[in-house]
Subunit: 390 residues, 2 copies
Amino acid sequence: MFMRRVAIVGVGMTEFGEHWELGFRELIAQAGVRAIEDAKLQGVKIDALYGGTMAAGRLIGQEHITALIADYMGLNPIPATRVEAACASGGAALRTGYLAVASGMHDVVVVGGAEKMTDVPAGDAAVALGGAGDQEWELFMGATFPALYALIARRHMHEYGTTREMMASVAVKNHANAAKNPYAHFRKEISIEDVLGAKMISEPLTMFDCSPISDGAAAVVLMPLEKAKEHTDMPVEILASMQASDTLALHSRKSLTEMRATKVAAKRAFEMAKVAPGDIDVCEVHDCFTIAEILAIEDIGFFEKGKGGKASLDGETALNSKISINTSGGLKGCGHPVGATGVKQAVEVTWQLRGEAQNNRQVKGAEIGMTHNVGGSGATCVTHIMKRGD
Amino acid sequence: MFMRRVAIVGVGMTEFGEHWELGFRELIAQAGVRAIEDAKLQGVKIDALYGGTMAAGRLIGQEHITALIADYMGLNPIPATRVEAACASGGAALRTGYLAVASGMHDVVVVGGAEKMTDVPAGDAAVALGGAGDQEWELFMGATFPALYALIARRHMHEYGTTREMMASVAVKNHANAAKNPYAHFRKEISIEDVLGAKMISEPLTMFDCSPISDGAAAVVLMPLEKAKEHTDMPVEILASMQASDTLALHSRKSLTEMRATKVAAKRAFEMAKVAPGDIDVCEVHDCFTIAEILAIEDIGFFEKGKGGKASLDGETALNSKISINTSGGLKGCGHPVGATGVKQAVEVTWQLRGEAQNNRQVKGAEIGMTHNVGGSGATCVTHIMKRGD
């Protein structure tokens, strides 16, 4: 391996939510400035920018979005590149920035993620999001994302006895965490009854089984580990950065109840980081729907296949339980500005590993963390494993 | 530097043009298969895929486009990542793939570029392309790309005495080259009178000063140089891969008649490759409009600022003249399927360096080549310098 060791030296994010008062460019600039300040970069040359966004072309009529970010952050003429992998755009941007530093090409790299979604009607946003699946075979036939994940949920219920209560428990836990997160879209607790009694979106998924449409942005600053120590007493090293793909359309897969991209990416990440699922103290997983969190904690290897629902209902994924999952509130509670999500996961895990998570949201003694970011119905998965530096 | 040396070992592309019979997925699969066959990859594991496309979300309702490519090429579960920088998406994808190999993370990387543009009305395509500029300050006010480049052209005429005939000579030369390129959208020669007498699009630019809306795809296979020698007798080494940014909106720039991103990216590329503009035998530049080629050959350093128009009219950029510019026919003659263009430039230069350019299109004794790919009105520029391997 020729690769340099890479660390996160600064993080920042906007509050997630409905930011009718802020445009895309204000959101990303706010997150970026916070990350740059956190990294104490005053006077340091930034070498490159990578930005994750999924659908700014559809949502705000703007492509070339990372050049726009460089422009609005006053960073010209540094290279500015957008990375897109649907809902995993943020994670893919982080991995691309990681490789740019690891390669030796760039020393100081800012990775941002952002999405501005609430300026269009929710139906238009749903159609834009449908572009994450197979447009010709799924969206065109009417299969939006709640419908695709409902198929996955039904099959998981059939094969493993997973119940609607088990799925609801994911939303309840994530709202409980979000209630403690000042950056979260929904800062209030809900009950299993609230989830089961909410409006049905796509049977068996109710409104509270689904992550919301949010605006928001997040950013991290990367450096070689050696150099990182000049900027922070507590660099967070990226031990592994892995990504995998699967078929775009659900109908092409052998199984609906596991995500092959998650399994491959997680396995390779554990190998690269030389750690096991049991070593992870805190993990942000991609809970775009409650069933997605159940698949994730099974496919990463925290729980046996088919046991994720029961584990959630039994509280084994709650804050400071067996494994603390989605301490930020996840996509469900913290919100899901699509391109921002993968970067926000890294921001939250960095805070956790530094011991800086606010409002009693801190995982005690967290040393190793992980992020898991999924695109569409699983055609992309990006995972990162991070460790508090010495 | 920790970076490994990287080579192109295989290239392929579709014909550029109006492919009403082929969808996005057929186009990219055709180009990808040709590149993989050219690289003699049978039995070799491909490690990662990077895809450049600008506006598939707007043009075909499909994001997550590189996952789609991996799916349709049977490459799951390898990492598949889309890279976007407007019209420089292909070049930015090539640079991202280059860094993935240079870093030591991946050994065999396929970089594809594609755009499917002719399935929507030309006006819709123009609006989608407007997303490459500053949507809020330019497109929203009616400034589509021909209008933006017309401003640049008028200012260049004012400052340097550049004439409409000089600009027209760029189109004439590029059509002459395209007439020899079996992959080109327009395989016929035109005259200066044809250009000047064509329909006015945005004064002083006529229809023949503008590159067309095309469908098409291109792909290259990258490997560490060491390993490349097992696959080809003539690897083409990437000596430099550089990228720079500028303000998204024209109104923010100090000068309309030079592209700062081109100047910075080219300067850094020459430094990295340890060559000078005079060493380049063949160069594909981004002639989205005829005036853009004039700016490019000045800003790269082939000609003094203000002298590019006269050099073109005098034939100094023709095939086997002082510097052979756009032997493929460029964007004007070969066509401009936006995301494909930057990758196609690398395909053409590879053919030239290998001595494989067909139909008397070969630059005699070409040893060092260059590509120059611009996003929007210059907010991104990506340059690569390549050399025939020993």
